[in-house]
C-alpha cells in the first residue's frame, strides 16, 4: 500500500457529517475523508471536475452515500458510478436513514456493496461507521490497475 486512498463521504446534513466524522475519527483511520454535500459534487470529485479539477488523480477507497441529497441523490450517484467504466469497481456503501424497501432494492439492483441504516442510538451509529471505515478502507482489497488507471 504505497498510498493511502481517500474515503468519499456524500452527506448534505452538516450534523450528520460531524457525527460521522466523529465516528470515523474514533476508528483511527489513516485515510483522508473527503466530504461532499450532494451528488453533483460527489460526481465532480470522482470525475475530477469543477472544484476538484486539480485534485490528485485516483479513485477513493470507498464512497459512502446518503440517499437523500439535494440535486443528485445517492441512488443516482450510485447508478452513475456503476455506469462509468472507470468508476464501476469502487465500493459504494449506502449509509442512510431510509428503511424503505424500495431504496434497498434499488440500491442492490444498481450494485451497492452495502446498505446501512443509520441507527438512532449514537453509540450504535458510531459502531456502524467504524465498521464501515475499517472494513472498506483497510480490509477490503481491490484490483489495483482498474482503480488507479483513471486519468482524464
Amino acid at each position: 500500500m504505497s498510498e493511502v486512498k481517500t474515503i468519499l463521504l456524500a452527506e448534505d446534513n452538516p450534523k450528520d457529517v460531524e457525527l460521522t466524522m466523529e465516528a470515523l475519527a474514533d476508528s483511527k483511520l489513516a485515510n483522508q475523508v473527503v466530504v461532499v454535500t450532494d451528488g453533483v459534487e460527489a460526481m465532480d470529485y470522482l470525475l475530477t471536475l469543477g472544484k476538484y479539477k486539480t485534485r490528485k488523480p485516483g479513485n477513493p477507497a470507498a464512497v459512502i452515500l446518503d440517499i437523500k441529497m439535494p440535486r443528485m441523490n445517492g441512488i443516482e450517484v450510485l447508478r452513475a458510478i456503476r455506469a462509468h467504466e472507470c468508476l464501476k469497481m469502487i465500493p459504494v456503501i449506502m449509509l442512510t436513514s431510509s428503511r424503505e424497501e424500495q431504496d434497498l432494492i434499488k440500491s442492490y439492483e444498481l450494485g451497492t456493496n452495502a446498505y446501512v441504516v443509520k441507527p438512532v442510538k449514537f453509540s450504535e451509529f458510531v459502531d456502524a461507521v467504524k465498521h464501515i471505515g475499517v472494513f472498506w478502507a483497510m480490509l477490503n482489497e481491490l484490483p489495483e490497475w482498474k482503480t488507479n488507471e483513471y486519468t482524464k
Binding site: D16, T96, S98, R99, V120, K121, F122, S123, V126
Partner: protein
C-alpha cells in the same frame, strides 16, 4: 283432385284375377262334372250292352238247345220215318203233330213244319203254311250238311215281316245218319226278341240298343228302330261311313265310341259283337241327352259364376268407394292442413316483428314484403314493391352488400348478415340489422333472396350513447387515477420524509447527547446526566414509533399476493423468531393443527407476530404463561383464536384495541406503540376477514381472526 289411378288399376286387376279364379274354378268343376257324366254314361252303356249281349248269346244258345231236343230224338225220328213211309199212318201223324204243337205254344216260335226230302211240307202247325224262299234255301242246305241251322233275320215275302228260323235235320241213325227230313221252327222276334232288344232299363228319351249285321258292304239293321219304325232289314248304311257306330262295330271296334247315328245325330255308343253270331250290338244314347245334365249344370254354373263375379265386382266397387272416400277425406284433411299451414305462415309473414322481404336474386325485384319491412324503411308496402333495392340503401353500404350478394349468388355462402342504413323519404336514416339467405323458390324464375331486417336505430343510438359514456367514464377513471397516483406519490414522499427526515433529528439528538455525556461528562451533575438519559430515551422511543408507523403505513399500501399459505409453517416460523423474547420464562404452548389459507405470506406473518408478541407480553406477569392457538370452521370461514392467560383488559375498551396508537396499559408496565393491533386489523381486512377480541381483567384475552376458507383453483 282425382283418386290415384293406381288404386283403380289395382282394383281392376284384382277384379280380373278374382274373375279368372272364379272362371277357372267353374271350368274345372264343369270339366269334372262332364267327365263324371261321361264315365257314368259310358258305364251305363257298357253295362247294358254287356247284359244284352250276354242275353242274346244265351237266347241263341237256348234256340239251339231247343233244336237239339229234336235233333237225334230217336222216337221222333222213328215217328217221322213211319209217317213219311206211310202218310196214311194217322197215329204217327198224330204223334208228330203233338210233338210239334208244343213249339208254337212257346214264346219264341210261331210256326213249325216238317219237311221231307223232297222239300214238301208234310206237317205244319199252323196248317198249310207256305215257306219263305230264304228258308227253303236253308232247308236244302241242311239236307246236305245234316247240321242244325239258325236262320238269321229274314223278311218273309208274304207278310213282309221279319223272322228267324231254326232248321233241325232229322237223322235216321239206323240208316247211317241219313237226313230223312227237316223240321223248321220259325222264330218270331216280335214276340220276345225285339221287345227285349228294344227294352231300356232306365228312363231315357234317346237311348236304344241296335242289333246289326254286315250285309255285303253295308250294315244292315235287324229290327225296327226307335226313330225308324220300318227299319228292320231295310235300313242299311254303307261301310264307307266309318263315323257311324254301327259301321264301327261291324268293322271290328269294341268299346265306347262317338259318332253319328242313322239319324245323322251325334251319339255316344258302346259297340261290340255278339259272340257266336253275325250280330253286332250297338248300345247308344244321344250325346245331347248325355250332355243335358251337363248343360244344365253348365247353366247353373254360369249363373253361379255370374253371381260370384257380380258379387266380386260389387265388393270391389264397395272397396273402391271406401278407398275413394278415404282418399278424398285424406285429400280434404291435407288440403285443410295445407291451407291452415299456409294461413299460419302468411300470418307469420305479415305479422312478424321482423321486416321480411322476398326478392329476386338477380334483378333485385321485390316479390313480397311485409308491413314491418315497409315500416322500417319508412314507406308503404306498394311503394316498397316498386322500389329499386339499392336506391334506398345508404351509398356507403352499397359496396359491402353487393360483395355479399355476389358471394351468395356464387353459392360460396348460404346467408350473410350485415348492419346497414336505409334512407327514409324524409332523409333520415334507419340503422338495420339485415340477414339475407338464398332460397330456392319454384314459383319464380331465379333463386330468391329472403331478406330479414330488424330496426336497430335505437339500439345503435343506445350503443353510441354507451360508448360515449364509456369513453367519458374512462377519461374520468384516468383523471381520478392520475389524482390518486399523485396522492399516492405525495403519501409516499411523506412517508419517505418521515422515514428519512424525521429520524435524522432524533439521531442527531441522540448523537449529541452521547457526545455530551462522553466528552463533557466532567461539567455535568448527576441530575444533568439523568436529564440527558431521558432525552436519549425519548429520542429512541420516537424512533421506534416512527418505524412502527412506517410499517403500518406500508401494510396498507404494499402489494398483496394471493397464494396458498401454510399456517402451521408460518406459525412455527414466527414462534421461533420470538423465542428470545421469552427466554427464561415458563411458557406453555397449546397449538392446534392449522389449515392453509389464501393470502400474503409476509403480511400474515405480521399478524401472527403481533398477536403472539402481545400474548407473550401480557402474560409476562404470570408464573406460567399459557398461550393456546385453536381454529374452527364456521360457514365459509376459518376462525383462528389466540388465547392467553395474561392480564386481559376491560371489555368496554375492546373497540379501542384496534385503533392506531391506542393503548390499554401504561407504557411503564407494558411497552409498545399501540400500532400492532391496528396493523393486524388492516391486514385481516385486506384478506377479506374479520378480527375481534374478548377479555376480562386478569382473566386473559382471546383474539379472533377469521379468514375465508381456502379453495384450490
Amino acid at each position: 283432385m282425382k283418386i290415384p289411378s293406381n288404386i283403380t288399376t289395382k282394383l281392376i286387376v284384382m277384379f280380373f284375377i278374382l274373375t279368372s279364379c272364379i272362371l277357372a274354378g267353374a271350368y274345372f268343376v264343369y270339366k269334372g262334372y262332364e267327365k263324371d257324366r261321361l264315365t257314368e254314361v259310358e258305364h251305363i252303356l257298357s253295362s247294358i250292352a254287356e247284359l244284352k249281349a250276354s242275353q242274346l248269346v244265351l237266347w241263341r244258345e237256348e234256340r239251339l238247345g231247343d233244336a237239339q231236343i229234336m235233333y237225334g230224338n230217336v222216337a221222333f225220328t222213328n215217328l217221322v220215318r213211319r209217317y213219311f213211309k206211310n202218310p196214311q199212318d194217322v197215329e204217327a201223324k198224330q204223334h208228330l203233330q203233338n210233338w210239334m204243337a208244343q213249339y208254337p205254344q212257346s214264346a219264341e216260335y210261331d210256326q213249325v213244319r216238317l219237311i221231307d226230302t223232297q222239300g214238301i211240307t208234310r206237317i205244319s202247325i199252323p196248317a198249310r203254311l207256305s215257306m219263305s224262299r230264304d228258308v227253303s234255301k236253308e232247308v236244302q242246305e241242311t239236307f246236305q250238311t245234316g247240321k242244325i241251322q239258325l236262320v238269321d233275320f229274314y223278311r218273309n215275302e208274304k207278310d213282309q215281316r221279319t223272322y228267324l228260323g231254326l232248321i233241325v235235320p232229322i237223322l235216321d241213325a239206323t240208316a247211317g245218319k241219313i237226313v230223312i227230313g227237316v223240321m223248321h221252327l220259325r222264330i218270331n222276334p216280335e214276340k220276345n226278341l225285339y221287345p227285349y232288344i228294344l227294352h231300356w232299363p232306365t228312363p231315357s228319351l234317346t237311348a236304344e240298343t241296335l242289333l246289326v249285321r254286315r250285309d255285303g258292304n253295308d250294315v244292315l239293321y235287324l229290327h225296327n228302330l226307335k226313330f225308324s219304325k220300318d227299319a228292320a232289314l231295310k235300313l242299311r248304311i254303307s261301310l264307307q261311313k266309318t263315323n257311324v257306330p254301327s259301321v264301327m262295330a261291324v268293322l271290328g271296334r269294341i268299346g265306347i265310341v262317338k259318332g253319328i247315328d242313322y239319324r245323322n245325330i251325334p251319339v255316344i255308343a258302346d259297340v261290340r259283337p255278339v259272340k257266336d253270331s253275325p250280330w253286332f250290338l250297338v248300345t247308344r244314347i244321344d250325346l245331347s241327352e248325355m250332355e243335358a245334365p251337363v248343360r244344365e249344370q253348365f247353366w247353373l254354373l254360369v249363373g253361379f259364376v255370374l253371381a260370384l263375379i257380380f258379387a266380386t265386382a260389387a265388393g270391389l266397387i264397395l272397396l273402391w268407394r271406401q278407398q275413394s272416400i278415404r282418399f278424398y277425406q285424406e285429400q280434404l284433411r291435407s288440403a285443410k292442413a295445407l291451407r291452415e299451414s299456409e294461413d299460419r305462415f302468411k300470418k307469420l309473414f305479415t305479422e312478424a316483428p321482423l321486416g321480411i322481404a322476398l326478392k329476386d336474386s338477380l334483378t333485385g325485384r321485390i316479390y313480397e314484403v311485409n308491413s314491418m319491412f315497409a315500416k322500417i324503411v319508412g314507406r308503404k308496402i306498394d311503394e316498397v314493391m316498386q322500389l329499386n333495392w339499392m336506391s334506398i340503401t345508404h351509398p356507403d353500404d352499397i359496396q359491402e352488400e353487393r360483395e355479399h350478394v355476389a358471394q351468395l349468388n356464387a353459392g360460396e355462402i348460404h346467408s350473410f348478415r350485415m348492419e346497414k342504413r336505409y334512407l327514409h323519404p324524409d332523409g333520415s336514416l334507419a340503422w338495420i340489422n339485415m340477414t339475407i339467405a338464398s332460397v330456392k323458390d319454384q314459383t319464380h324464375e331465379h333463386p330468391c333472396h329472403l331478406c330479414m331486417i330488424e330496426d336497430i336505430t335505437e339500439r345503435r343510438q343506445q350503443k353510441m350513447e354507451i360508448q360515449r359514456l364509456n369513453t367519458e367514464l374512462e377519461q374520468r377513471v384516468i383523471d381520478r387515477t392520475t389524482q390518486l397516483q399523485s396522492a399516492n406519490k405525495e403519501l409516499e414522499s411523506f412517508c419517505y420524509s418521515v422515514s428519512h427526515d424525521l429520524r435524522a433529528p432524533l439521531r442527531h439528538i441522540d448523537g449529541y447527547v452521547d457526545l455530551l455525556t462522553t466528552r463533557c461528562r466532567d461539567g455535568l451533575s448527576d441530575q444533568g446526566l439523568h436529564y440527558l438519559d431521558t432525552i436519549s430515551d425519548s429520542a429512541r422511543q420516537m424512533g421506534i414509533l416512527i418505524d412502527d408507523l412506517l410499517q403500518f403505513s406500508r401494510t396498507g399500501r404494499a402489494e398483496m399476493k394471493q397464494e396458498k399459505v401454510d399456517m402451521n409453517k408460518l406459525f412455527k416460523e414466527v414462534q421461533t423468531t420470538l423465542k428470545e423474547t421469552y427466554v427464561g420464562r415458563n411458557v406453555e404452548w397449546i397449538v392446534a393443527d392449522l389449515p392453509a389459507v389464501r393470502g400474503d405470506y409476509s403480511l400474515l406473518r405480521q399478524v401472527w407476530a403481533n398477536l403472539l408478541s402481545n400474548a407473550l407480553k401480557f402474560t409476562r406477569t404470570k408464573e406460567v404463561a399459557r398461550i393456546e392457538i385453536s381454529v374452527h370452521r364456521e360457514k365459509e370461514e376459518f376462525i383462528f383464536v389466540v388465547s392467553d392467560n395474561g392480564v386481559g383488559f376491560e371489555m368496554r375498551y375492546a373497540t379501542k384495541l384496534f385503533g392506531v396508537f391506542q393503548r390499554l396499559h401504561p407504557v411503564e408496565k407494558f411497552e409498545g406503540t399501540g400500532i400492532g393491533l391496528a396493523t393486524v386489523q388492516r391486514i385481516i381486512d385486506r384478506h377479506g376477514g374479520r378480527v375481534w377480541a374478548e377479555a376480562e381483567v386478569d382473566q386473559g384475552a382471546r383474539f379472533y381472526f377469521a379468514l375465508p376458507i381456502f379453495k384450490e383453483e
